[in-house]
Structures are given as C-alpha cells and as structure tokens.
C-alpha cells in the first residue's frame, strides 16, 4: 500500500531531521529593559535598569539589540550632586551613564501603549529601526521591568498602569507573530510575582522579586546622592552576574542564578515560573544564563544551493507525513474508542517549531536566469570579438 510506504518514510527521515531539531536554537539575543517610574526619589529604578543594561552589554548584546526605556533623566536632574552620572552603588565605582549609552525611549515616550506596541511591533512606518524590537522566531528576549507595582499591575509614570493581563496578551501576540524563540521575563517591583501569573504563552520563563502582598525593598542609599540607589532583588541578580558570569563563555545555568536568591538578603520572596517552558522546570533549569543575558555564540551559516533546498523539501515532506500519520492514528484511536494519550509538551513544541521553519521561495528566479543568460551571452560575445581581433592581427 502506498500509504504504508509513506508511513515508513518518517523513520528514514527522522535521522535527517534530528540535527535540525537540535540546532533549533536562537540565533539572536535581544533585551528590553524598562524602568517605569520617573521623579528623583525613584533614582534607584533607573539605576536598576542601567546596571542591567551595562551587564547585558558586557555579555555581548549590542546596543542595536537592546531597547532601553528610561522615563526620567537622573543624570541631568538638578538635584544630582554628581551631574551627568548615575550610580547603582554607594561606592560610586562605575558611572552607569558613562559616555556610551543609547536610550531608545525616554521621558514621556515611556508609556504602556508604546511598550506594548514595541513588543508586538505594531508601530507606524515612521518609527526608526532603533526603536523597534526586530526579533523573529529564533530570537531570545530578556524582558526586565522595574518600577512601582501592586497586585497584577505595574505603574507607568504615575499616570497609567499596565496589568498582568495586558502583558500576558502582548506576549501571546508575540508568540503568534513568531517574534520570539524563548523569553525570560524578570521584574523587580512590589508584588512582582503577580505580574507574570497571567502569562499563557509557551517558551517563557518568568521570575519576580516578591510574592503577592509583599513589598520589594531598596538595597542601600547613597548619602551623598541622597537617595536609594538600587533595589535588593536587582542588586543580588547583578551580584551573581558579575561574580559568576564573568565572560560570554560562562556555562552558568538559570538554575544557578535562581538558586542564588537568598530570601534573607532580598527581604522578599522571589518567584520563578517554569510551567510555560518546554520541559518544565527541568528543561528550564538547564538553560544557560548566557542564553538570555549574552549574545548568541554559535552562528548558523545559511548555505545556498540545492543542498538546503533538498533539506527543506524533505522537511516539508516529513511534516506533511507526520501530520497524515497523526490524523490516521487519531482515526484509528477513535475507531477503537480509545482516547489518544496527550502528546508530551516537548513533542508538541517540536511540532510547532518545525511548522515554523521557513521555506524561502525565490520569486525572481526568471529574472535571475535572464541576467545569467545575458551575462553569458555578453562573455561569449567579448570572447568572440577578442578572437576575431586576434585573427585579424
């Protein structure tokens, strides 16, 4: 039977597909770093974000792939005793503002609307590339937020707030639009863990600084600047990143990072959410810190030519076969009046990823052929003309 033959095919293809599944890693890293509060006494929130900005830059994410949102300018605030600087530590060893900083959204541009538009890429044509999150389904994104929040909301600029539902829907839209591969959501605010409680899109690991009804606290104040300069949760995250993740080749995992949280130091109960991630907690814990905080190391070279075309064809074929087989199995199962066992999340995930693979069809092949023919004809004409001259001489 033809169908039986087809059913046997996937087994053959499996060996071919396997390397593809393994290399289905991310190919780019992006970071969205948001402070949501303005005013001098919220100095620490901007310092939080800026120190994280510095860290991800240190670990290799270029400015072009960092979206930095700062609602206020602490460096130029007249109250700043050290004009033009922002420090996140009372020792004032590192000026976070420095001379190499690229703020993408500043002042009153930092709004809930702009933030959601940024995530979902619903922006006008006039929006410059530097202010867009140009991610695809192979991008890993780190989303870090800090500000004043409450149960299932985060205040933006004293004027509006984003709810946990808005954020969850924005991430779902990103997933539907294939705008991320994996996402690490990190938030430092009061009752932070409520902010990720509504997420329902796959491939997200979320962590926050405090449980519901818990406040997040500042770490220490700089008595010359006159304000608190950093929050506890962010401080200990940075502490880990700076002491353990020293170079981009670091093999520290998220497990190491999350296990380093010490409630007695943070003064609130940090939370982690794994259930949306393929492989759950076990899968997530093995992920490298560098998968989110640093830039991608292994580069996938797009080879041109028949080899890939063939692979892609096979892939498409395999996909179709798998689908048919699944349908046949489902029918069979229905006949036997047995409910199909639920496929494991990981398998499901793999399926979706395969579907997500792009087959690029060259629409301008005729044009290219014409150009080739013309070039060939031109060459032979030159060669003919040359030989004609030679014979004439």
């Amino acid at each position: 039977m033809k169908l039986l033959n087809l059913l046997r095919l996937p087994a053959v293809l499996a060996s071919l597909l396997a390397p593809v599944a393994v290399t289905a890693e991310h190919t780019s890293n992006w970071a969205v770093l948001v402070s949501t509060s303005r005013f001098w006494f919220n100095y620490r929130h901007l310092a939080n974000v800026l120190s994280l900005y510095r860290t991800v830059k240190r670990l290799g994410i270029p400015d072009s792939q960092i979206i930095l949102m700062l609602p206020d300018d602490m460096a130029c605030n007249p109250r700043n005793a050290f004009p033009g600087t922002v420090y996140s530590n009372a020792d004032r060893a590192v000026d976070l503002y420095g001379d190499n900083i690229e703020v993408d959204y500043r002042g009153y541009e930092v709004t809930v609307e702009n933030f959601i538009r940024l995530l979902t890429d619903r922006v006008g044509e006039e929006m410059p590339m530097s202010k867009r999150l140009l991610t695809d389904d192979r991008s890993n994104i780190l989303v870090y937020m800090t500000g004043h929040g409450g149960n299932e909301f985060l205040k933006f600029q004293d004027a509006e707030e984003i709810s946990a539902f808005d954020l969850a829907d924005a991430f779902e839209q990103m997933w539907e639009k294939k705008r991320y591969h994996e996402l690490l959501f990190m938030i430092d605010t009061c009752q932070a863990n409520t902010m990720y409680s509504k997420f329902y899109s796959p491939n997200i690991i979320a962590t926050g600084s405090s449980e519901i009804d818990q406040s997040s606290y500042s770490h220490h104040a700089d008595n010359d600047v006159g304000v608190a300069v950093i929050d506890r949760y962010t401080y200990y995250n940075l502490d880990f990143l700076e002491t353990h993740v020293r170079e981009p080749s670091s093999k520290q995992t998220l497990a190491d990072l999350f296990d380093s949280y010490d409630e007695s130091k943070i003064h609130s109960q940090p939370g982690v959410r794994w259930d949306l991630f393929p492989g759950g907690e076990r899968g997530g814990r093995e992920r490298l810190v560098m998968d989110f905080f640093g830039n991608v190391q292994n580069v996938e070279v797009d080879s041109v030519g028949n080899a890939t075309e063939f692979k892609e064809d096979l892939l498409a074929l395999g996909k179709k076969i798998a689908e048919i087989r699944e349908r046949a199995e489902a029918q069979e199962a229905a006949k036997k009046n047995l409910s199909t066992p639920e496929p494991p999340l990981a398998g499901n995930h793999k399926m979706r990823k395969i579907r997500a693979a792009k087959v690029q069809a060259d629409e301008r092949s005729w044009g290219k052929t014409a150009v080739g023919v013309w070039a060939l004809a031109g060459c032979s004409l030159v060669w003919w003309f040359g030989s004609h001259l030679e014979s004439a001489a």
Binding site: F39, W40, F41, C76, N77, P78, R79, N80, A81, P83, A221, N223, D224, G226, V227, A228
Partner: protein
C-alpha cells in the same frame, strides 16, 4: 399605629419627645468635652509619619562643619558689632555680606500703622538662583533681626549669613533659595510676604527682585550664644491655619533621627509622654490656634499656603550652632527634593507631642457636638413657639375627649386627634428678628472701637465698655418691655434665632478653626439654658452672675490676668493682628459671640407679657 407615629404633627406635639431636647443638647456638650479629653490616649491619636515620598528626610550627609564654623564665628562678631546700629546701617552691612557671597540682594521698606502707633523697618533679602534649576520655585530661609520677644537674634542672623555662603557652594539646588532678614518678627515678615504676592497695602514697598513660587519657609530664632539642648518648633499660623504636617515631620525626623537632637512643641520644655503632658501640649496648641495670632515670623507665610515653621534652639546642652546649621541644611535638602507643593499630609491636626497627632476626622466631632447643641435647642424652641400658649401637655396626653377632634389621614391610616395638637399659632417674627439682627450689627461697634482706638486710650475704653456691657442688656430689655411688651412666644423666637445663628456659624467655623469654634462654643454653652424666669429671682441672679462671668470682656480680662499681661497690651496686639496680619478672631468674638451673649442677657432680664389664658408657666417649664 406606625402611620400615626410617623405623622410629623403628632411627633411635634409628643410631650415626651418635647422633653428630650434640653437633655440632648446638654449631652452633646458633655460628649463634646469628653471627646476632646480622650484624644491624647493611644487609641485615639496616631504616631506621625512622612507621607510625601519625595522628601527623604535625613538621607543625606551634611557637610556644614569644619571651616564653616570659623566663617560663622566671623559673621557672629560682625553681627555683635551691629547691635546698637540703626536698621539702615545694619542692612548696609548685611547687603555687603550677601553680595560678598555672590548673591543678588534687594531691600524693602515697610510702614504699618495700628492702634495709633507706627511700625516701620526695612527688610533685606538675597536670592540664590538654583545653578541648574529653572527658577520656578523657591524656598525661604528667614532670620529676623529681633525675635518675637524683641531679643536680638544674633546667632540666628549669623547662621543665615553662613548658610547663604555655604549653600552657594552647592550646585544641586532645584529651587531658588531666598535668604531673608527682616527688621522684626511681626510686621517685617508680613510686609515681605504680602509684597512677594503683590497684595501689599500702601506704605509697603514692592519687591524689586523676586523668584518663583514659594514652596516652604524655615525661620531660625537663635538669640543666644551658648550651646543648646534641643529644638523648639513653632508651627501655628495666623487665624489658626497650620503648615502641612509633612514639613514638621521632616524637621522632627531630621533633628531626632539624623542629628540626635530632641524636638518639642508649644513650650513644653519637658515632655514625659504622659497623658497630662500630651493634653497640655494639645490644649496649648488649641489656645494658640484659637487666638489666631502670629506665633513667629513663619506665621505670616501660612495664609499664602506657604508651609513654614520657626526653629528655636533652647536649653543648656552640648549641641552647637553648627548642629543647628546641619538641621537646616538637611531640611533644605529635603525641601529641595520636593517635586510639587507639600500636599500629601494633613493641614488640619492637633499635635500632642512632636511625633503624635490627631487628624481632623478624629477631633472634629468634638467641636461639632458643642455647636450642634445650639442648633438642637433652636429647633426645639421653634417647634415650641408654634404651640398655642394655652396648651397644657397633660390635657393632650391623657384627657383625650376634652377637646374637639379632627381627622388626620396618612395613606390608608386615619386617626382622630384633639384639635389642640394640630393647632399652630401664628409666629410674630418681626420683633425677634429685629432684636437678633440688630444685636449682631451692634457687634460692629466694639469691633471698630477696639481696632481703631489709640494704644494709650485702649485700657480706659475697655473698662468703660466692660461696665456699659454689663448694664446695656438690661437697658435694652427694659426698653423692649416698655415699647413692645413682647409675648412669651416672641422671647422664645428671639432665643431660637440667636441660637440657630450661633450653631450654624460655629459648626462651619469648626472646619476652619477648630479651636476657636470649640472655645467660643464652650463659653457660650450656658446660653442654651438661659430664659426669663419671672418668678424665680434666685435662679435669675445665678444666671446673671454666670453670664457676666462669661461675657467676652470678663473672659478677656481674666485671661490677660492669667497670662500676666495688661489688658491694654492684649488689645493692642489684637488691633495689630487686625491691621497687619489680617487676623479675624475679633470678628468671631464681637460679631458672633458677643451678640449671642447680649441676646441671652435680654432673655434673662425679660418679662413675657401676661396672656389671659394663664397656664403659661407650665408650658415654660416643660
């Protein structure tokens, strides 16, 4: 039955119900006073806290020390040399100092006239423009040349000069800082603030240089050389207005939290945190608020919604002038952090310790209850005045068949009711209204008299007025009886209108100046029970004595005796308050309290006309 009971006309004539109001209004007064006495307890007062996030009190290191102490000593010596100099010479020197610190300097001459005296002087001030700020807002550091007691504020002025020089070195100001040295503590600050807001009277110069909207003012009153123990904070404004509680909390937090210097209020040099000490502090605060006078140079700022306080070091301790300077420095750093006007915390509060207060929601019912007692009585009298004078309550309640009956219908319910109950006699309005309105207008007379008499004549005018005051109601009463022969109903109406007005006025005043409303309410409380007792001379005499003790003039005399002040002095201060500060306590005293008292006396001296159907006395008694 319920239909019957709910019938208003029946309720109005219910003899049992008609007995309630006098007791009810007495209960109101008693509860009102008891309420106030409960406030100092832990369960009713709260600990203070900082509401404004931006203030961040005590979070900065202060650097006012070291060589600045030498600068201070230098300025101190210069100030000591100016002691005997004239105002203009002093200001020449001060101007020189400010200019040497690199500040823009200006001067302002002022002249006030009150109670036949002239108060003139010249203020000098310097503006430090915020190096990176936008000049939209400013804070004021004030040191008066002489303090409220008339002492030379030598360390205070030297400290202002030193701090001006010191602040100029910082580049972190977001608001301009105005250093103001006024010629005195009473007229000078008022002239300056008025001129700053362009509301000054003639005789006061406009300010040649100004800055942005004032966000706060801190006054240093430091008239001695030696070291001090702790800081006394004066916060009462004119007419009982108060600065935002956050400002006071900030200074207390900085002084006690950061610098380890105690803070005390209302001249409570020792505060053991006992019930008695708390109550005393609160009552002293209420007295200052009720009088509505300026308790320091800061008071003039408060009516302009500029939160201000005066800091007075006191006692013998080991804190030196630099510690005082650091408290000011830290306070200014906090004020500098402000993003908008102080608005988060309370504007209406009673303090019973530097870190314990009650807010308006907790204390207001006390004054309201006292005020409501008048209103209850007024309504009661109105209802009673409508009853026919022949009505004997016993007839109405027991002997149902004695009179003609009428049918009352309410919904489906019908009832037979003695006609007497439903009868309503016509109320004769004109005379009662004329008496009450007339006496209130008469209040303008003492108001004008005491605010415009020259100082020398004030005591004699006062004593003449006090004597006339005690005879005058009897004269009026006799004249009334002679020419109009008012009926019992008319007397009731006179009292009803008078109490109604008093009750309404005091309950609205309670929200603005709680203490004044409470004090006047308490002093006027006996008026609720005053009426003519034609055949009871002893009761009448007792009431006359009581009322004579509680007349505004006697109270004024007694309190000036209690505080060891001459009557002339008190009246001069009151006239000064009226002319310079825009104080309006006098209006309350002479145009509200005094007329009510006069009407009360007229009642006592009154003799209701005898009407033919006799049992009038019974009605009066009920």
């Amino acid at each position: 039955m319920s239909g019957l009971l709910s019938s208003g006309s029946l309720l109005r004539r219910n003899p049992r119900l008609l007995q309630v109001p006098p007791y009810l209004s007495f209960l109101c007064i008693a509860i009102g006073v008891a309420w106030l006495l409960l406030l100092p307890l832990d369960n009713y007062s709260r600990r203070t806290y900082i509401s404004e996030n931006a203030l961040l009190p005590g979070q900065v290191h202060t650097y006012f020390a070291g060589s600045d102490q030498n600068v201070f000593r230098g300025y101190k010596r210069e100030v000591d040399e100016l002691v005997e100099k004239s105002n203009a010479e002093v200001n020449d020197k001060l101007e020189e100092f400010f200019k040497a610190s690199g500040l823009k300097v200006a001067r302002q001459k002022y002249e006030y006239r009150s109670a036949g005296e002239t108060y003139s002087g010249e203020n000098v001030y310097a503006i430090l423009h915020a190096p990176r700020g936008d000049a939209e807002e400013a804070i004021v550091l004030l040191g008066a040349w002489t303090n409220v007691e008339g002492e030379l504020n030598k360390s205070g002025v030297a400290l202002v000069l030193t701090l001006a020089r010191y602040f100029k070195r910082w580049s972190l100001w977001s608001k301009d800082i105005i250093f103001l040295i006024t010629a005195d503590s009473r007229a000078g600050p008022q002239a300056w603030v008025d001129a700053y807001h362009d509301t000054h009277q003639k005789g006061i110069q406009s300010l040649p240089v100004k800055s942005g909207a004032l966000q706060g003012a801190v006054v240093i009153d430091y008239p001695f050389d030696h070291r001090f123990e702790s800081i006394h904070i004066v916060y009462d404004g004119i007419n009982g207005q108060l600065p935002n509680l956050d400002l006071l909390n900030t200074v207390v937090a900085i002084a006690s939290g950061q610098m380890g210097i105690g803070a005390s209020l209302q001249k409570m040099w020792q505060h053991k945190d006992s019930y008695k000490d708390r109550l005393t502090t609160m009552l002293r605060g209420m007295m200052n608020q009720g009088l509505g006078h300026a308790s320091g140079p800061h008071s003039s700022f408060i009516p302009y919604h500029v939160d201000a306080i005066t800091l007075q070091p006191f006692g013998e301790g080991w804190e030196d002038e630099m510690a005082m300077g650091r408290v000011i420095e830290s306070t200014f750093r906090s004020l500098n952090n402000l993003l908008e006007h102080l608005h988060q915390s309370f504007f209406f509060y009673l303090l019973m310790q530097s870190n314990r207060f009650v807010s308006i929601g907790t204390y207001l019912p006390s004054a309201m209850l006292v005020a409501i007692n008048f209103t209850i009585m007024a309504i009661f009298l109105w209802v009673k005045s409508g009853a026919p004078s022949t009505t004997n309550s016993k007839v109405a309640s027991t002997d149902k068949k004695s009179g003609p009956l009428s049918i009352i219908q309410e919904g489906d319910a019908k009832a037979l009711i003695p006609k007497q109950i439903l009868e309503e006699t016509e109320r004769e309005f004109f005379l009662p209204l004329a008496v009450v309105v007339g006496s209130h207008f008469l209040g303008v007379l003492p108001l004008y008299l005491f605010n415009h008499t020259p100082e020398i004549m004030l005591p004699s005018v006062f004593f003449i007025f006090a004597i006339v005051n005690n005879i005058f109601p009897f004269l009026i009463s006799t004249a009334l009886i002679r020419s109009f022969n008012p009926s019992h109903q008319q007397y009731q109406l006179i009292k009803a209108f008078s109490l109604l007005f008093l009750g309404m006025f005091l309950s609205s005043l309670a929200t603005l100046n709680f203490s004044l409303a409470f004090l006047v309410g308490l002093l006027a409380a006996p008026l609720t029970y005053v009426q003519s007792f034609p055949n009871r001379p002893i009761t009448t005499t007792l009431f006359v004595i009581l009322l004579s003790l509680l007349t505004p003039t006697t109270v004024l005399l007694a309190s000036s005796f209690y505080w060891n002040l001459g009557v002339g002095e008190v009246l001069k201060e009151a006239a000064f308050g009226w002319d310079v500060w825009g104080m309006n306590t006098q209006v309350v005293v002479w145009c509200v309290w005094w007329p009510a008292w006069v009407v009360g006396m007229i009642q006592l001296a009154g003799k209701p006309r005898n009407e033919k159907p006799k049992p009038e006395k019974a009605a009066v008694k009920s």
